[in-house]
Subunit: 331 residues, 2 copies
């Protein structure tokens, strides 16, 4: 492993020291906690607080989505490890203005356990909490509620943040956020592994011309290992799987995302995007917006996720609403 | 080489097909040319046009900086190759509203030749052109005008775009943009090589624990090869070199950038940023803003650039002005 770090066991602490120093105009720490940040201006009286969290190592997820129109508070754990219940509860209490807090997090065993425990801690203190878990990865079985969360966090927090900014109550925000999440489908393809900074160990091995479709954000096994094929062939296959899974029909309006896993160039993402747009167009599916970049990484992993977010009138309105964060801004 | 591409000789064409399809709301092609894009709303009558360009393969540079408050038109060449004079001239003519056009490009032999020839072509057609070349890389000798341009393009186009939006004339915009460029200093450190998509060849070789300070954006030789050291030690060394080169003094106000070269994680960039902030603080230099991310890459190269942009009152005002592009937005 070759990384610009100090003590490998302190990478998360050192990273957040950088975040705290660099962005004092945008955010501050909650109770001086290393990895819990509240945005400037939050909480807002009469507004629901939006809490986003999960393990570190996927930057810009989650800290990159802290800001007006997105998350009001972000809480991160260690590398690929859920934040603890006490941290989540501290974040929730800091952001509650009396209108309650929505938790958004990925559908992973550790996160479920810890966010549920935090919800209990909050209830004990009179803070009302609702949760939306993200499960957009179609490679992880037919039972959707057992699927992993991947890039859907981007759109769930976008919609939740916009709905909260409009002054909706907690139940209404939970409903529209859940619909946003249910309308996201993702499939990834991995080319090269990541190394865990704390151990220096690669998350998996692939041959020099091998790829794996459906690999998880922590290197979990995917659905298909094969030879590297041209981008257009790969995008066609992935789009087919995504469209089938919804299923989408001609006339549907969607947002398209090509997400870089860490070492993937914009060049590759746009080449995959061109092929994906053409495949969707052939099916009569209308791409009304595209997000191309590194929205959620797995360290320096090579590869990309394709995500489709199906819109309706309300989701379209909230998707287009202004927001401002390190990673995601809309004027 | 393992990349998500089709025909390796057509990566630039394929990438820009993706760009054109994904961002029709932001930009359109000039005269149907593959790699020349004008932002929506440009040209603006009575306003100077800002033209930014250079070789492809450094994305999000240059296309990521096309938008209000930044570049009005962007023109890119092949991988690591200057755009040709005819493309640059076509871009300039498309963006000229009669108030002239400012060219911003890196200080490389091929770019100088082609942008100069384009300037002549423009003059023949009555389009007034001024140019600012960027030369911020302090590792490339004491004669500043022979230095390479690296990340200074971000701040030069930010300042030029803000000044143009204020309605300044071409001479005034050239002056403030040149001052912005002169106020940028950059030093990079490489850890792992990039591969050129057209050939599959790595740009250089480094041992498993070796780094090289001052390597250029195309793999040009740097000033010092050595063992990988802790991030804090490395940042201290690099900041010392940057501060000396200006030289900066206690009380100076600066913007700090940690730029990822392609495969570098946000985690590493923030760890380098924390150490850099501390080193600057010790010298009494005030960091008033920080830009952390992948602003200019060399494909999937691993490593980072540290850039310091020294402010004065006018530069501070233009730095803070609103802008909106794929890579860089300010609300």
């Amino acid at each position: 492993m070759k990384k610009l770090i100090n003590n490998p066991s302190e990478v998360v602490k050192d990273m957040f020291e950088g975040v705290a120093r660099c962005h004092q105009d945008r955010m501050s720490r909650v109770n001086g906690l290393t990895s819990v940040f509240i945005r400037q201006g939050a909480p807002v009286k009469g507004r629901v607080g939006i809490l986003l969290g999960g393990g570190s190592g996927h930057e810009p997820m989650f800290i990159g989505y802290l800001g007006p129109g997105l998350a009001d508070v972000v809480v991160q754990g260690g590398i690929f490890a859920s934040p603890t219940p006490d941290l989540i509860a501290a974040a929730a209490k800091a952001v509650d203005s009396g209108s309650g807090v929505l938790f958004i997090y990925g559908n992973y065993a550790g996160d479920i356990l810890n966010f549920d425990m935090a919800e209990e801690l909050c209830q004990d203190d009179g803070v009302t909490v609702k949760s939306v878990r993200t499960w957009d990865d179609i490679s992880t079985g037919q039972d959707r509620s057992r699927r992993r969360g991947v890039t859907a966090d981007v759109y769930t927090v976008k919609i939740a943040g916009a709905a909260a900014a409009q002054g909706l109550d907690l139940a209404a925000i939970e409903a529209v956020t859940r619909r946003a999440m249910e309308n996201c489908r993702t499939l990834g393809v991995c080319l090269t592994p990541a190394t865990i900074p704390e151990t220096g160990i690669a998350t998996f091995e692939l041959g020099p011309d091998e790829i794996e479709i459906g690999m998880g954000a922590h290197g979990e096994a995917g659905i298909k290992r094969g030879k590297l094929v041209p981008a257009t062939e790969l995008a066609d296959f992935m789009i087919e799987k995504l469209v089938e899974d919804f299923p989408l029909k001609s006339g549907d309006e969607v947002v398209f995302m090509a997400n870089g896993m860490g070492a993937t160039t914009w060049m590759e993402l746009y080449i995959m995007a061109a092929a994906s747009h053409k495949a969707l167009e052939k099916k009569g599916i209308k791409v009304v917006a595209s997000d191309i970049g590194e929205y959620m990484t797995t360290q320096e992993m090579g590869g990309c996720h394709l995500t489709i977010f199906k819109l309706d009138d309300e989701l379209k309105k909230y998707y287009a609403a202004p927001c401002d964060s390190l990673m995601y801004s809309r004027v």
